[in-house]
């Protein structure tokens, strides 16, 4: 009897431990405060790219890419497996991530009013997207405010000079250097009409709330913050635990459309009526002024911090008309018109930065007749390129007849060794990733010099001195100083005992 009682106590204890383990994540368990920052979501998309064959469990079959996928929502974390359509585990994982990226793209670009993607009221079934709604995402310029002021979620900030031009449905795009200059200050991108391409960065509510709750929206706030910056992660629901979206950040690129002269072209792009605000020095040389433009979406980056990907998952899409790739150019397999390539001049120097000066005027027309001649470099292994091409064909067929059939996935970069202690970037796969509109001039395969989302973002820090690592995002660098006073560098904070990637633990004696 006594032994049975002891056995029962052990069994109950074990069950209790199991229950606790159901709440264990790759990082620390979510506290009550963190749960508010990263609230449960009801509709995480759990669809994997393949499933076991019901007739032969040793094999996998592809998930049909059909209309069901258009309404299942956004994955809260990637559902991938080493088992799949190939005998190559890496290829199967890559396909899983690329499938996840397409589900993410469809969910984010679905109409903000809840309709199905491609069924909006505008030409090509276009509509204002979920990410353009201030209830879902916030532009970075409306987070890192003047004088380090605290931002307010959901509010629409219309600069005074933009008010005469304002109308319902217009988006506000506030310029700073990052809105027209490529990463590493490699220069602007000029389309075949001589117009600047424009860029914007947006963050979702969990990411916003982490910044807001921790005062990271000002330089001094970052100085006062005394912990590691660790954004909340997305996780799909499991037994007894809800799904949570985690931090998501977007970087989008636009080019300027002329609604009067390009009606056919308008049907091929997701468009937005925008008010482009030039704040004036020091943010822009021009201004203050505000201009109204119609923009066409040409590039779409998503960074999503998810379970098993503390280095985030990086998805990149672009418009099919942006530019040909180098194989197409070599084989003269060209399909003009391209937004950033003159098919009549295939031998023109390509991927070269424009001549200075670079700062855009209010017209957003480049000062000379220079037009960027862009070619997409082939930087992935052939197997990845083939798999992405196959997925693109299927998803674009699914979206046929809508503006969204004109967008393609470049690929997804993900940490192949997320738990590595010595490679804090998690051994990115593929090693390099570049978007022709967002990393035009850093396409290539030279480590650190060529574009890799994770290798670059792994170096991101806060703005204050001494800086600290800022969890794969450069948003903190945009924080302004409180009351125009930037102060002196703060005292170093001890990192003794902090267990972070790459550290042995403890300050040297």
């Amino acid at each position: 009897m006594r032994n049975l009682r002891e056995l029962a106590i052990v069994a109950v204890g074990a069950a209790f431990v199991c229950m606790l383990n159901l709440h264990a994540y790759a990082q620390a368990p979510i506290s009550d405060a963190a749960a508010d920052i990263n609230p449960p979501v009801a509709n995480c998309n759990l669809t994997p790219d393949t499933a076991p064959d019901p007739h032969d469990q040793s094999k996998h079959v592809a998930t049909p890419i059909d209309s069901k996928l258009l309404t299942l929502g956004q994955p809260c974390h990637q559902v991938v497996s080493q088992k799949g359509l190939s005998t190559d585990a890496l290829a199967n994982l890559q396909r899983g991530f690329d499938f996840y990226s397409w589900l993410t793209f469809i969910a984010l670009n679905s109409p903000a009013d809840g309709e199905t993607i491609g069924q909006g009221p505008r030409p090509g079934g276009d509509a204002a997207t979920k990410w353009e709604a201030l209830s879902n995402y916030r532009p970075l310029a409306a987070v890192m405010l003047e004088k380090g002021s605290e931002p307010t979620w959901g509010t629409r900030i219309v600069p005074e000079l933009c008010k005469p031009l304002d109308a319902p449905g217009k988006i506000i795009l506030q310029l700073g250097e990052a809105a027209w200059d490529q990463p590493f200050k490699t220069g602007p991108l000029i389309d075949q009409n001589g117009n600047y391409a424009l860029f914007d960065i947006l963050i979702n509510k969990p990411m916003f709330d982490f910044i807001d709750d921790n005062g990271l929206y000002s330089k001094q706030g970052q100085e006062r913050f005394d912990r590691d910056i660790v954004f909340p992660e997305g996780v799909n629901p499991a037994a007894n635990t809800p799904g949570r979206m985690g931090a998501v950040m977007l970087k989008v690129s636009w080019h300027i459309l002329d609604p009067s002269s390009g009606k056919t072209l308008m049907r091929q792009f997701h468009t937005a009526d925008a008010l482009i605000y030039f704040p004036g020095p020091p943010a822009t040389k021009t201004g203050p002024t505000c201009v109204a433009k119609t923009l066409g979406l040409i590039g779409f980056h998503v960074g999503h911090k998810t379970k098993f990907a503390p280095q985030w998952v990086w998805s990149s899409f672009e418009h099919v008309r942006n530019a040909p790739n180098e194989k197409q150019v070599a084989e003269r397999d060209l399909h003009p018109p391209y937004t950033f390539f003159n098919a009549g001049c295939p031998q023109c120097p390509n991927n070269k930065t424009p001549p200075s000066p670079w700062d855009p005027p209010a017209s957003l027309q480049f000062h000379s007749n220079h037009k960027s001649q862009v070619i997409r470099s082939i930087i992935f292994p052939d197997a990845v390129a083939r798999e992405v091409d196959d997925l693109n064909k299927r998803f674009r067929t699914l979206l046929k007849g809508t503006v969204w059939e004109n967008y393609m996935l470049i690929t997804t970069q993900w940490p192949s060794d997320a738990q590595s202690k010595t490679d804090c970037n998690g051994a990115p796969m593929p090693t390099f990733l570049a978007n022709t509109t967002l990393e035009t001039y850093s396409q290539g395969q030279v480590p650190l010099a060529s574009s890799s989302c994770m290798a670059c973002h792994g170096n991101a820090t806060t703005r204050h001195v001494p800086a600290i690592a800022s969890d794969f995002t450069f948003v903190h660098e945009k924080a302004q100083c409180e009351s125009d006073f930037c102060g002196s560098p703060a005292a170093s904070k001890s990192t003794a005992g902090t267990k972070r990637c790459g550290l042995g633990g403890g300050m040297p004696q």
């Binding site: 080493q82 585990a89 480590p447 790459g502």
Partner: protein
């Protein structure tokens, strides 16, 4: 396990300088009949370098640097003879490494050394240059095998550091003690 210490490796490489960077893309998948040899090459490399095979060539490996070094080594006339030694007893790569490093056949003996240096320095030292008596000073590599080979060279990790201009460590790592050497060269959980 070959006792090929960091001191010995760095001693061989002391005074060298990188020459022209190889431009060929050496990371394309090997032909089907090379796949088995590639597996043996990695096992041999682990025995030669003292670094776990799971670190040299992880099961999920986006970089595939093993292919670059395999294909480079394959260009050497002694490669087939070297691989015959490994194939003769695939379950004993340490035994094969010993045979290679002590071989009376100079091509094989110094090809083994070239393979060690490829993994540690990301550069290709021609076996017959290494075999010269007396050795040239400095010993100049034929080439840095690729930009990726430069960043993946194990000398940096054995030194618990990183190449110039490239680091996989988190910002601020210099203010803390380095990770133990085992984290760099041993398989996780080993």
């Amino acid at each position: 396990m070959i006792d090929f210490t960091r001191r010995k490796v760095l001693g061989v490489a002391a005074g060298t300088m990188a020459s022209a960077i190889g431009t060929a893309d050496l990371t394309q998948p090997a032909a089907a009949d090379d796949a088995a040899d590639l597996v043996l090459f990695v096992k041999l490399s682990a025995a030669l370098t003292g670094i776990d095979a799971a670190q040299l060539a992880p099961p999920i490996d986006p970089i595939q640097i093993k292919r670059a070094y395999f294909r480079q080594a394959k260009t050497d006339p002694g490669f087939e003879s070297l691989m015959q030694i490994v194939r003769a007893n695939p379950a004993d790569p340490v035994g094969a490494a010993n045979k290679i490093m002590n071989s009376s056949n100079q091509q094989i003996k110094y090809l083994g050394r070239s393979i060690i240096l490829a993994w540690y320095l990301g550069a290709w030292y021609q076996p017959m240059v290494l075999a010269q008596t007396p050795p040239p000073s400095p010993v100049t590599p034929l080439k840095v095998i690729s930009p990726t080979a430069y960043t993946q060279a194990w000398a940096w990790r054995v030194a618990q550091a990183h190449p110039m201009g490239y680091s996989e460590l988190r910002f601020g790592y210099w203010s803390d003690e380095p990770l133990p050497i085992e984290d760099f060269v041993k398989a996780r959980g080993a």
